[in-house]
Amino acid sequence: MRNLPYRDAIREALIEEMERDPDVILIGEDIGEAGGAFGVTRRLQRQFGPERVYDTPISEEAIVGAAVGAALVGARPVVEVMFGDFVTLAMDMLVNQAAKTCYMTGGRIGAPVTVRMVTGTAGATAGQHSQSLEAWFVHTPGVKVVAPSNAGDAKALMKAAIRDPDPVMVFEHKLLYGRRDPVPDQVDPLPLGVGRVVREGDDVTVVSYLHTLYAAVEAAESLEAEGISVEVLDPRSLVPFDRGLLASSLRKTGRLVVAHEAPGRGGMGAEIAAVAAGEMWDCLRAPVVRVCGRNTPMPYAPEMEGFVIPDAGRIADGIRATLRQPAARRPWS
């Protein structure tokens, strides 16, 4: 067991998969000698050569499209989208091409491409370098969506994503790259769709992921003093989503809070709330509460940014609200 930064764990996954399978290639902007904007691919081009680690022009559609095209004929490409926001320039290749390959070939072939989405705010990164766009892909049948929140999960899920026969979007939060967590010496791929109980509790279930997960844990810890016992779940992958884990937790707590950095409207939290309300309604004892990014673009000023993204205080308020009467006014609204 080592204490490894998230960034290094992802790099180890890439290295081990590249060593295992010669068809695994990396492609992206500045991922070669520069090692990627966040250092994830540092030294990989030196280790594997330019025929495995492709440093590209700034051409997102061609990068993602070339990865998808290579995947159709046998490659296992891993794309780095330097800032996830730039995926807007490659949406056709993901949404219209890769996502439809399996379906429109009647299941004959897939497009096994992994897209690493550098996600979320890193502090004053503003409207075009901060977004959390996972809901767009959750809403696109044919792609899978992974959101690891610690180094060990990042390594295990990255391996699973690369080996997966379908397109997988892996969301990596910028503020997690430097975070250290214990990682076993040997990490096997973790099946997608298996969530994790981060913290056990009895009164309220909080589902959260990526960087916001730690705000949720902080909120849970702070509420101990008020005698509120909070269970925190990390779904780890959003598609497929671990419904079973959510159901077993709600059977115990009956109360649900969902927290994420992406705007609430039309977000993953809405989907989780709908799953709970539609399939686990008999467990629910209070309205589901979402604590999400506000429905604004990401502002630049730190005080505004802090207001927009959920923090432990706002999540704690949300948790308290589920323990009141359903009609109670929610303090964050």
């Binding site: 499209g65 070339a66 095209g69 290579a70 056709d92 399996c102 429109m104 897939g110 899978k144 379908d166």
Partner: protein
């Protein structure tokens, strides 16, 4: 038209080219009729008039080479050797169709043939072919990718990004622009400020050539030269194949936007007619041509019968094939 390579082409091979062109022509004309009769529910974008391009290009390819196609893709697929019966079955939206009735005309695909798909997105196949070429280059077996697209697609970012990337990396890809002088309903002079699309190759330090697309043997020779360069590691080529669609953008388009007399001019240069003249000049008699035509009609009779006999899909089959992999033993949706 009578260069060295043409000389090397025997009569039997020329008859094969003619058969392929005639098959495309009649496949499309019959499809129009079958659609009118109500057998085909979706869009059709007929390839009639452009047969020389698809057949000439595909005659220069070998097993293991791959192509990407367009919304006007039937010709490319038939020229690559696809089964017209399974193509009709797909157009009829039946279970035996190439896409199990999940694609239709715009999404026909047969990866085993190296046909990486028609495409509903203008320019959508260009990055895919570029990526396929990247993988072919990595495999080192001298295989190439060909991307067909129209004049309209050369105004898409995907075209420019892909050509830049392919030239930069010397990828074994041949870009075949079928300039039929219309982007959907808009004539070329109203959608781009240039007349010679092949010159766009200059921006990417790439070889660009203009070919009379209605001359199948010229098309084949130009493609052979481009493919030879690609196989030799000398990089991509942009071929501008000048041709014309006889039937408008889609089946049912009256094409009233065409100036009077234009169609007639092109009908005089109909690729089938030109090639028939060439064959006759080379001593092929009418009886042989008629035999070939009768054989094609028989094939298409059988194909339409096969399509009509193929079962309709069950509505709930819509839920299958969203992903290659099941999740907890169930289809993931």
């Amino acid at each position: 038209m009578n260069g060295m390579i043409d000389q090397a082409l025997g009569l039997e091979q020329k008859i094969d080219l003619y058969r392929s062109m005639y098959l495309i022509r009649r496949f499309e004309e019959r499809a129009a009729h079958l659609r009118q009769q109500g057998f085909i529910p979706g869009f059709l974008h007929p390839y009639v008039g452009q047969e020389g391009v698809a057949v000439g290009v595909c005659a220069a390819l070998e097993e293991g080479d791959v192509i990407t196609s367009t919304h006007r893709g039937h010709g490319h697929m038939l020229a690559r050797g696809a089964d017209p019966a399974r193509m009709y079955a797909e157009l009829y939206a039946r279970q035996d169709g190439y896409n199990r009735a999940k694609g239709g005309s715009l999404h026909l695909i047969d990866v085993e043939l190296g046909f990486l798909g028609a495409n509903g997105i203008v320019g959508g196949g260009i990055p895919l072919a570029t990526g396929a070429a990247l993988q072919k280059k990595r495999e080192g077996r001298g295989r190439v990718a060909v991307s067909f697209f129209g004049d309209g697609a050369t105004n898409e970012g995907s075209f420019h990004e892909s050509l830049n990337l392919a030239s930069l990396w010397s990828l074994p890809v041949v870009y075949v622009c079928e300039n039929n002088f219309y982007g959907e309903f808009t004539p070329q002079h109203k959608h781009q400020p240039i007349t010679e699309i092949a010159r766009r190759a200059d921006s990417y330090a790439m070889e660009g050539v203009v070919v009379e697309g209605n001359h199948v043997l010229e098309m084949r020779e130009a493609t052979l030269a481009a493919v030879e360069r690609a196989r030799a590691g000398e990089g991509p080529t942009l071929i501008e194949a000048r041709t014309y669609r006889h039937r408008g953008h889609y089946e049912g388009d009256m094409a009233r936007y065409r100036p009077p007399g234009e169609l007639e001019e092109w009908l005089a240069r109909d690729p089938l007619r030109l090639f028939e003249e060439h064959l006759r000049a080379g001593g092929v008699n009418d009886r042989l041509v008629e035999e070939v035509q009768a054989g094609v009609e028989e094939t298409l009779d059988d194909a339409a019968r096969f399509a009509e006999a193929s079962p309709h899909p069950l509505p709930a089959e819509a839920l299958e094939d969203v992903y290659m992999e099941t999740h907890d033993g169930r289809a993931l949706r």
